[in-house]
Symmetry: C2
Subunit: 341 residues, 2 copies
């Protein structure tokens, strides 16, 4: 039987127990259609399949490729491209999937492109404070009219409070979430439709205004969400091999090409990360406990990514283990089949 | 004819003219065997082939997969794994390629693993100041003896002054490079062999102590090396599409999953990057010149990565264009075939 320690490194390892617990916790809090899991976090059809197995039928994604992959795999019955795209060929590929697909629009240009490509359903994407996509809340009604007169079914609104989801202070997070959702609800009043889609892992428990939450990170978690104490467990680690040991530091064979770095350095179990290079992580090992041998070349170490989404995008597979440690048995191998564009 | 503007986005685009100029400039400064191009920078066999075409026969790499790919493609006649590995299976795969392969070793454990796997040739990797791999300079002679008594051919030493290559002040860079190379030369005195391998793009012109330079970034460049004024031109950009425009900012469809972020934000032509999300870059467009239309949804923009190595590792292909602009013709498509492990 293969254990985590037997894997060629670096390799992503999913702790099935923690992962199942995270899915269970979320589907208890937000059962069925009240959660729209975001597949951008993992880009893995098998993970989406597990999310479907606990009751979620609606999914969202950041790229057409993610939507197309889910549809072809038969995962989900309501797929939202929660992002704008203007490219005719890709929109036509989405339209070919039929009424299962809804796309976000936030401008006359994206509405025209969606209609021209044969897309049937849209959400009006509303800017609720994060300077990114989304129309001005006051313009949402006009765009909805435009979409309907172009033959599109306007199912409602979406608006992502991405500037709020990471705030550590829960009272501040709740207050700012409410302010964002007031904007979204006002826009919804002008737009109509059944759907008010918003939120993320950081606001899943406090965003009571949206009627579906777009959370992705909760399934695997990362160190960046740790301080928010959301009750989800880290379920994805990178196993690496110690390839060099010096008196004051050691080096593991993972680095900038196996770890998303925008949230800073990863954490390493048994030491402190000093810096990452392309294929190396230099770290200071903790002083070994009495009776424990010091770290040596060939030892395996577990590394916890600071940001899982861009970490997973570097890997073509995730190994599924039956626990968190190096001795856990590897039961499966899931392809990261939705990456690229 | 396809132009850069016609590509599905985000897509990496190589400016063939700038790229050829960079290869020419480097092969004039360090012709033939005085340069050992580092393929970790690009992970692309076709780029290595172009480096071979201007006279370089020796290559180095950071992963066994990079070495194996080059060997199978018949590129290079002297391939150095400039990194430690302890994994028996991978070392055996390298050994099966024959005498074309040399690996770096810096400990008794890596020497034993190389010898056991049937590797024939090694370099002693010496720590010259960067806290990463490499033995203590004073231990290099002992390790060389150990390697030779294990039946390995010790071809010399390598030592990477990675803490020096990025220093903007050229006098400081030269002085610290000299100090590092004094350590490497002292180790070489104990080790013997023909090879003294060191350096990178930042020290290619000032490291006169090594007899081969391991440079990689020079071929494509990135914004991080810009301030050093090394004479190489940026030859790799990401083309992206504007998917949303607001009064104060716009959003392009590239982000944390298409750009290595450890050196900070990318630069965008025609604007200033505010922040990157998974699949978005929010930027402030420059005020358009009189008579020029403002930025609109569907426009293409060119983005220059801050760090090319981890940027390329997110992509499966590089489009080759005949110039730097959006109107340049796309002449070829090169696979990033050496990524993964």
């Amino acid at each position: 039987m293969t254990t985590v320690s037997d894997l060629s490194t670096p390799a992503l390892v999913l702790d099935r127990e923690a992962f199942d617990g995270n899915l269970q916790r979320m589907s208890t809090a937000l059962p069925g259609d009240s959660l729209r899991p975001h597949v951008k976090a993992h880009k893995c059809t098998e993970i989406a399949r597990a999310q479907e197995a606990v009751g979620h039928r609606k999914f969202c994604a950041a790229t057409p490729k993610e939507i197309i992959g889910l549809a072809r795999a038969g995962v989900g019955s309501d797929l939202l491209l929660a992002n704008e795209t203007i490219e005719t060929r890709r929109l036509a590929d989405l339209a070919a999937l039929g009424e299962i697909v809804t796309v976000a629009v936030d401008s006359e240009a994206t509405i025209a492109a969606a209609a021209a490509a044969g897309i049937t359903s849209v959400l009006i994407d509303v800017n609720v404070g994060l300077p990114r996509c989304g129309c001005d809340p006051g313009d949402a009604g006009r765009l909805a009219d435009r979409a309907r007169s172009s033959g599109l079914d306007v199912r409602g609104v979406m608006g992502y409070e991405g500037h709020v989801v990471g705030l550590v202070d829960v009272a501040e997070r709740a207050a700012k979430c409410e302010r964002s959702m007031e904007l979204l609800l006002a826009a919804h009043g002008q737009v109509g439709g059944d759907i008010i889609s918003a939120g993320g892992t950081g606001t899943f428990a406090i965003n009571t205004w949206a009627n579906e939450i777009q959370a992705g990170s909760y399934a695997l978690m990362d160190t960046a969400y740790g301080p928010l104490e959301l009750g989800f467990k880290p379920a994805l680690r990178l196993v690496a091999t110690v390839i060099s040991v010096s008196p004051k530091f050691a080096v593991a064979d993972c680095g900038l090409k196996s770890l998303g770095m925008d949230h800073g350095n990863p954490m390493i179990e048994g030491g402190e990360v000093l810096f990452c290079s392309d294929e190396h992580t230099t770290f200071r090992p903790n002083t070994p406990a009495v009776g424990t041998p010091p770290l040596t070349v060939g030892d395996r170490v577990l590394v916890q990514p600071a940001h899982i989404d861009p970490t997973i995008a570097y890997h073509d597979r995730i190994f599924v283990a039956n626990g968190p440690g190096l001795g856990a048995q590897v039961a499966d191998e899931w392809q990261v089949d939705l990456r690229g564009w």
